[in-house]
Symmetry: C2
Subunit: 225 residues, 2 copies
DNA sequence: GTAGATTAAAAAATCGATTATTTTGTCTAA
DNA sequence: TTAGACAAAATAATCGATTTTTTAATCTAC
C-alpha cells in the first residue's frame, strides 16, 4: 500500500514521525480541547522535539484532518459539531459496510485466523480492565482486521481517517461500561458472521454497531458542550 | 467546512501554502515521473522557496497521498499501477454516485444556476482551444459544483482526493479529442438530468461518464508504461 | 571475482537564530 | 465611552548552518 500513512515510528523513526504519531494519538484521544489554538512552543516542550520536526508533524496532521491550519495564524484543533458527527457516522455506515461485504467475499483463511486472534486479544484486554490506551489500540486493530481484505487501499484509508474523526467524539468523556458490554458482544457476533460468510447479516450487524457507537458518541458530545 | 484542504493561496499566502498548491498542480498534471525520487535541493530552486516551507509542503502532500514519504530517505512520487487505477475508479463510482444522488435531492436553485454557469464556462474553454491548465481547472470546478450540495463535508473531501489521484493517470499523455468530445457532451446531459431532478438517470450517466474516463486513463497508463 | 568492511560523498533531518505577521495593550481625538 | 492609530509583545514563518543518516565508492580477505 504505497499510499498509506506512515506506520507508527519506533525509536528508529525520525523526530517528525514520532511526534506525528504521538500528537495523532493525543488528538484522537481527546487530550486537547476542540477549537483550541495550539501553542507551538508549549508543544515543543511537551513532546521534547525541535521546531522543524514539530511543524512538519503539524502540517501532516492538518492535511490529514486532525488539525486546521490558517495561514499566518498557526494551527488549531478542529471544532466539534453535531452536523459533523452525523456526517462522519453516516460515512462510516456506507464505507465500512461496503468494505465488510467485500472483505467477506475476498478474505482467505489467514484472515479468519487474524480475525479470531484480534477478537480474542480485544476480549482479553477488556477483562484485564483496560489500562489506558491498550483497549483502544486493540479495538482499532480489530476493526482494521475486519475490513482489511476488502481489496481497496483507498477505501481502507478513508475508513481509518473516519475512525480517527469519530473517536474524537466517542472518546470525549469517561468510559461507559453498560453500553460497552453490548458493543463488545457485537464484535464477537461480527466475527461469527464473517466466518460464516454471511455478508448480508454481517453488514446489518455492522450498521447496528456503528449506530450504537454513534449514540454513545452523540451522548458524549452533548454532555461535553 | 472546517476540515477541508487550504484554499489556493494567493500572493498573500505563506511560502509553504504557495509551494503546496504549485506542487499539487504539478503532481496531478504529470510534471513528475511516477516513482521518481524528489531532489529537495532541486525543488528549492525550481519553486524559488526555502527549505523549511518546502519541507512543510512536502509533508502535507505526503499526508494527502500525492507523495510517499520514507523515513530518512525523503519523498518520492507514488508509483502508478493498474490495480490502483481500478481501485480509484471504482471508488469514484461509489462515492460520486452517492454524492450526486444526494446533491440532486438537496440542491437549491442557486445550485442550479452555479451548475449551468460552470457547464457554460467549461464549454467555452473547450471552444477557445484549451490554453494549458484552464480547461483542467474548469473541469474540476464543474465536477465539484455538481456534487457540492450533497451535504457531506467528508464525502466531498474524499471525492476531491480521488479526483487528484485519478488525474495522475488521465493526464499522463496528450489530449484525446475524439473521446473528449463524447465526455464533454455528457457534462451537459448531466446538468440536464440534475435540473430535472432525475437522480436515477443522473447516477447512471455519471457511472457511464466515470467509466469512459476510466478507459481513457487506462489507455494512457498502458501507453505510458 | 565476490562478500563484507571501510571510508567519502550526498542527502535528509534537525537546530538555533532571524524575519515577518498578528495580537495585545495603550493612548488620543471625536 | 469609544473608534481608530500606534507601539510593544507574542507568535508564526522562514532562513542558514549543523548534525545525522543513507548511498556510493573503494578496498581487503577469502
Amino acid at each position: 500500500m504505497s499510499n498509506s500513512l506512515p506506520t507508527p515510528a519506533g525509536p528508529a523513526g525520525t523526530a517528525s514521525s514520532r511526534v506525528f504519531d504521538h500528537l495523532r494519538k493525543d488528538l484522537v484521544g481527546g487530550r486537547f480541547v476542540a477549537g483550541e489554538k495550539l501553542a507551538i512552543n508549549a508543544l515543543k516542550d511537551r513532546y521534547q522535539v525541535g521546531l522543524s520536526p514539530l511543524r512538519e508533524a503539524l502540517n501532516k496532521l492538518a492535511a490529514y484532518g486532525l488539525l486546521v491550519q490558517e495561514n499566518q495564524r498557526g494551527f488549531r484543533v478542529p471544532k466539534l459539531s453535531r452536523d459533523e458527527l452525523d456526517d462522519i457516522a453516516q460515512m462510516r455506515l456506507e464505507m465500512e459496510g461496503m468494505a465488510l461485504e467485500r472483505a467477506i467475499a475476498k478474505g482467505d483463511s489467514l484472515w479468519e485466523a487474524d480475525l479470531l486472534a484480534a477478537a480474542h486479544r480485544l476480549k482479553r484486554a477488556d477483562i484485564t480492565l483496560d489500562k489506558g490506551e491498550e483497549w483502544e489500540h486493540l479495538h482499532t486493530q480489530f476493526h482494521r482486521t475486519l475490513v482489511a481484505p476488502c481489496g481497496s487501499v483507498w477505501l481502507l484509508r478513508f475508513i481509518e481517517q473516519l475512525h480517527d474523526q469519530f473517536d474524537r467524539y466517542r472518546r470525549l468523556g469517561p468510559k461507559m461500561p453498560t453500553i460497552r458490554q453490548e458493543l463488545d458482544e457485537q464484535h464477537h457476533q461480527l466475527v461469527e458472521l464473517a466466518l460464516q460468510r454471511d455478508a448480508k447479516a454481517a453488514r446489518a450487524l455492522m450498521d447496528d454497531h456503528i449506530h450504537k457507537s454513534y449514540e454513545v458518541a452523540l451522548k458524549r458530545y452533548q454532555e461535553h458542550v
